[in-house]
Amino acid sequence: MDKIIESVDVCIIGAGHAGCEAALACARLGLSTMIFTVSADNIAFMPCNPHIGGSSKGHLVREIDALGGEMGKNIDKTFLQSKMLNTSKGPAVHSLRAQADKLQYSLSMKKILENQENLTIKQTEVVEILTSEITDEDKKKLGYEKQVIGVRIETGGIYTCKSAILCTGTYLKARCLCGESITYTGPNGMQPSNKLSKSLLDIGIGLRRFKTGTPARMDGNSIDYSKMEEQFGDTPVVPFSFSTNPEDVQKPQMSCYLTYTNEKTHEIIRANIDRSPIYAGVIEGVGPRYCPSIEDKVVKFPDKIRHQVFIEPEGTFTNEMYVDGMSSSMPEDVQIQMYRSVPGLEHCKIVKNAYAIEYDCLCSGQLSPTLEIRQIRGLFSAGQFNGSSGYEEAAAQGLYAGINCAMQIKNKPYITIDRSEGYIGVLVDDLVTKDNLEPYRMMTSRAEYRLLLRQDNADIRLRKKGYEAGLISEEEYQSLLLKEEQIKEEIDRLKSIRVGAAKNIQEFMIEHGSTPLKTACTLAELICRPELSYDDLAPIDPDRPKLSKAVTDQVEINIRYEGYITRQEAQVSAFKKMEEKKIPADINYDDVSSLRIEARQRLKQFRPVNIGQASRISGVNPADVSVLLVYLDAQKKNN
């Protein structure tokens, strides 16, 4: 049955964290959008850890919010506990993390999708992407070979569309492994998607196989928390969303608990290592090195006598507890022994076994920096399908792909975020320029310019882009402009007000453990003293205007770290110079004869859009970049 059921602008395939953001972005930008899922009861489902944010991922959530995405707002409504991490370090690495009520999170997101104008939810499996050949010469020049025209679902029905966004997560040809037992399901026993992979291969898309894993869920009543350290949330709680009123997130919080593995745990794992599907060679997919299973940790780091284990609540609706730090694909009997060797878990009852999951995903070098698959016009992709891991990474890509898909249909300029503008920029750039031989997880170390990419200034960095795209309201945008003005004025004021060595000032200095003044100095100079904060200075700054904490935080950071910020900005302008050297889409690398063969092959494979990107492709060395620069220069002169 090849019947056209409906025609829409955009089809979103998958309703996880990437799919939800992509669908909302498209629908909010006025496109008729249909989101397909194998289970409409599991929208924005969290099959692994029960938290949102954390080191560098918290930054992503803030950036999603700044651009007009939903994740930050949704977690603000459904969190159980919230914490600002790394507060003993500099502001660049402060990061928010919130424990989510999984069911509430999912239900709340589903409701948002349901009530979104232009958006329809459809429960079915998409089995084929339909394309036509490109005939337009101009489009061919840009490297397009095919154009998306629709999708086919399992019934044979066809939904025509202008664009499609693949957000298939870990569902493509998924199989789950628990020791010797293999089940052909998606995460948590969900229905997998077994047919779409073939269709993708047929239209020339390269796929590979990744794996990831999750720990067991335990009955909370079987856990002895008295043997663990209780971990509390922050008071007051800082919301994720720049639009959430901070008063709305102050509420009673649930605790997490910290315990540790020990030699006995490691002994059990070592004794049974041949029964692990990874070490037995059953798993083909490549797993993430930085998100290792407990057996990986024990094997790779034999000298470590213990590893941290966090026990985290899954929600208010269940007693189930998540055992963070002990993901595993060991057989069930080994899992029981292993978990029960951990203090507090001696009598634990496992509700859901730990397992590893393998799935098909994209070789992400096929993507352009808009997250469109280069040769197929209108086919975008996001999330774990692109080889990333994590809810936040997925949501960020979903939003970014959604916006750019909408821009393409509306014939408007794409939004771009480079490595100096956001973690999203780092994420996308890494996906499109690197081989990524394992699932890609965001980390602060991946961001070169992180002092500028703080979670506290995501709105200042990105709201304007969200506004231009059309996802940020006029009101939200005006409030950003006001905030920026207030920050600037207050910094100028603090730099201009001088205080002398008067008696009250000296007393104030001594009282705050600071050296008395020898000569007059500005209030800004006082803020640079580590022992004095903006708030501390209130008594000697009587003319201070009334400003929100969001504003005064920015003022303080910008004054205190000015030297570092200036130096980082200089790094960024050097970086931008290379990014601004564009490489024409129709460049023929065979014409650049001095290129080494390896470099030429890699450049053809990744087709970087500028010299900066070209220089980040492994296998392209500085001499190759020089060759390219000389070639482009000569081309320019010839034209």
Partner: protein, 475 residues
């Protein structure tokens, strides 16, 4: 016409002199066919294209009318087994600048086939084609320009890569620390930063002193490769011209004689055994030995500021006067060697080192570390050894060591090393100020980048790779 790296290029590769042999080098896709047109073997056949790579063949170079220009040996190297990694043909002629010019003119008669190479273009191609890194490319340039044994040895060292190895190892160490800090930020469970600032601080002071030491060689390196810029001053008839004649006479050698184009001076590179002086000579001095031209105060003023060294020639048989006082005033902040000349006229000597300081000569502290006083006689050519020793004391701490260490002689390298040094010092400042570890990364990254620029390497994926390759990352 725009020059691109696709063109075939040619240039005379040996010195333009009437030496016994001269080589014209041709590089590029059309190198072989281009030379083939003008080459015939002993049987008068154009067979260059059949030559095997890496061979050298005897034959004749002919012009368009098939007249023989010269007997030649022609060697063929095929890409990538050549200096430029392109096809290269070298034509060995019987020297003579006229013959070489003719050969080159013929080879470059059609710009579409082959054009004249720009200065350094062969080496540039070697770099662009990935054969050598930037420091090596620069070292090749330096070797071509090397004026003495020291400069040559130093350039050879850079070519072999001792500069690269040194900077490379420093970069590795910086990268390791950056990676550690990043790991600790991403994975605090497994990487503990307690006590880390102290540890880093120790490393920093080692790196800083290493960089300083390398930079310290920069000035000495320049003095030894380009020569010590020297100006001779003194009143008329004190013996300035004689001094120059002695220096440039049999005992020493003039390396180059370049007539100044922008000012009326002649510059000499003068070797005193392994010392190189770059003597700035006012034009008049050389006119005639007996017709003394006044250098006087004006000339001293004009040139002293640029000089590394002032040779102040005084006639020790005459009293000092007001003019001496003025000259002394002008040169007092420079490194000065006072030559009490005419020591052969023993009975007439009235000025000695001991009585110089009296009265009018007080501007110069003759016992200071920037001043030496020696007795000379240009007539007997005596005191030249003392002069050399005085220079060594003033510039090289008394020891002129052979080129065992690596010297920084390239200005670009020097500037980048200075930048790297100040970045490392900023990290040191951050540690001292008790900033949290994530702040170190900014200036460590800068130091790493500056050092990388010396080598022509860029900062790329290696940071993340380093993290992954060396460290355990937990969730």
């Amino acid at each position: 016409m725009i020059h691109t790296n696709e063109d075939t290029i040619a240039a005379i590769a040996t010195a333009m002199s009437d030496a016994g042999i001269g080589i014209i080098r041709v590089s590029g896709k059309k190198a072989i066919s281009c030379v083939s047109k003008y080459y015939i073997n002993s049987k008068k056949v154009h067979d260059l294209e059949e030559h095997e790579a890496g061979t050298i063949k005897f034959g004749f170079f002919i012009d368009d009318d098939e007249n023989i220009i010269d007997e030649v040996m022609v060697s063929v190297m095929k890409a990538p087994h050549s200096y430029t990694r392109e096809d290269v043909v070298e034509v060995n002629t019987h020297g003579g600048s006229l013959v070489m010019q003719q050969v080159l003119k013929l080879l470059t008669s059609d710009e579409n086939v082959c054009r004249l190479a720009e200065p350094g273009e062969f080496t540039k191609r070697a770099f662009l084609n990935g054969r050598i890194d930037l420091t090596r490319a620069e070292a090749v340039m330096d070797i071509i320009e090397a004026k003495n044994e020291f400069a040559l040895k130093n350039s050879e060292k850079q070519l072999r890569g001792s500069m690269r190895d040194l900077i490379h190892s420093l970069r590795e160490k910086i990268l390791y620390e950056m990676a550690f800090i990043e790991s600790a930020l991403d994975d605090p469970e497994n990487y503990n930063l307690d006590g880390y600032p102290e540890k880093l601080s120790g490393n920093l002071s080692r790196w800083i002193s290493k960089t300083k030491k390398l930079l310290g060689t920069a000035d000495e390196g320049r003095l030894r490769t380009s020569g010590i810029v020297t100006v001779i001053v003194g009143k008329p008839n004190s013996g300035k011209s004689s001094l120059l004649n002695v220096l440039t006479g049999e005992e020493t050698a003039i390396v180059t004689d370049i007539a100044g184009t922008t000012r009326d001076v002649i510059e000499h590179d003068v070797k005193i055994s392994d010392l190189l002086l770059h003597v700035i000579d006012t034009a008049g001095i050389r006119e005639a030995t007996d017709k003394i031209e006044a250098i006087g105060v004006d000339r001293a003023k004009k040139y002293a500021s640029d000089a590394d060294l002032i040779l102040y020639v005084i006639d020790s048989t005459r009293e000092l006067d007001e003019e001496d006082k003025q000259i002394a005033e002008i040169i007092k902040d420079k490194k000065v060697i006072v030559l009490l000349n005419k020591s052969d006229l023993e009975e007439n000597i009235i000025l000695t080192k001991e009585n110089l300081t009296d009265n009018i000569f007080s501007a110069i502290n003759i016992d200071g570390e920037n001043t030496r006083v020696i007795q000379t006689s240009m007539l007997n050519e005596s005191g030249i050894n003392d002069l050399k020793q005085a220079i060594v004391e003033l510039f090289f701490n008394g020891h002129l060591v052979p080129c065992e260490e690596m010297y920084v002689t390239n200005l670009r390298h020097k500037k980048l090393l200075e930048n790297a040094l100040s970045s490392l010092m900023l990290v040191e400042q951050s540690v001292e100020d008790g900033m949290s570890e994530d702040f170190y990364a900014i200036d460590l990254m800068n130091a790493y980048k500056y050092l990388g620029e010396i080598l022509g390497e860029e900062v790329g994926e290696d940071l993340v790779n380093e993290i992954f390759s060396k460290f355990c990352m937990g969730k």
